[in-house]
Amino acid sequence: TQLLEQSPQFLSIQEGENLTVYCNSSSVFSSLQWYRQEPGEGPVLLVTVVTGGEVKKLKRLTFQFGDARKDSSLHITAAQPGDTGLYLCAGVSYGGSQGNLIFGKGTKLSVKP
């Protein structure tokens, strides 16, 4: 069974701090996605990383896909209260069922003003 381990599970920080969320697996993925879920809503895609070693930036968010395509990280610079939410990584496996994603359990981020 393929698993994606996310860490930390919870993160509570002050506005302006930096943070990194990790997503690790022993399996190789063809691509990896990051979603954010706000309270009372469904997850919304932030980014997809496809190539090993790829780095993508979305304003203050930086996403990296590991060279071996087994891990990924999300770094937030100068966090703001609007970044509060549940961050989920999801992997697309080679040869997996059509369209199915392997989800991590999520990192719940709280940014205090």
């Binding site: 009372g40 809503e41 997850p43 919304v44 997809t48 989920l88 369209g99 989800f103 359990k105 999520g106």
Partner: protein, 115 residues
């Protein structure tokens, strides 16, 4: 914009009742999914469907069934609701054929309480 609509945001049901959760997507997606989300357990796949009248079991199908009579609609059925089915239920859809394949678009969720 892709829109996935779940019929209810909140539902309260009694043990033993038959419960229907409805999901409609407006983007002609082939794939549709039902998940439940519980604290500490993340998103767990209940059932998915690749096409009309097609269904596949996910990781936790016990106690649930699904129906996909039309491409845009995917229903989750709790045949006899139990308290351990109290959860947040999320529906998602995706396209296998578009350039955005494998991206799942989620509804806002249905928070079900079984008393």
């Amino acid at each position: 914009d892709v829109k996935v609509t779940q019929s209810s945001r909140y539902l309260v049901k009694r043990t033993g009742e038959k419960v229907f959760l409805e999901c409609v997507q407006d983007m002609d997606h082939e794939n549709m999914f039902w998940y439940r989300q519980d604290p500490g357990l993340g998103l767990r796949l209940i059932y998915f469907s690749y096409d009309v009248k097609m269904k596949e079991k996910g990781d936790i199908p016990e106690g649930y069934s699904v129906s996909r009579e039309k491409k845009e609609r995917f229903s989750l059925i709790l045949e006899s609701a139990s308290t351990n089915q109290t959860s947040m239920y999320l529906c998602a859809s995706s396209s296998w054929t578009s350039s955005a394949k494998n991206i799942q678009y989620f509804g806002a969720g249905t928070r079900l309480s079984v008393l």
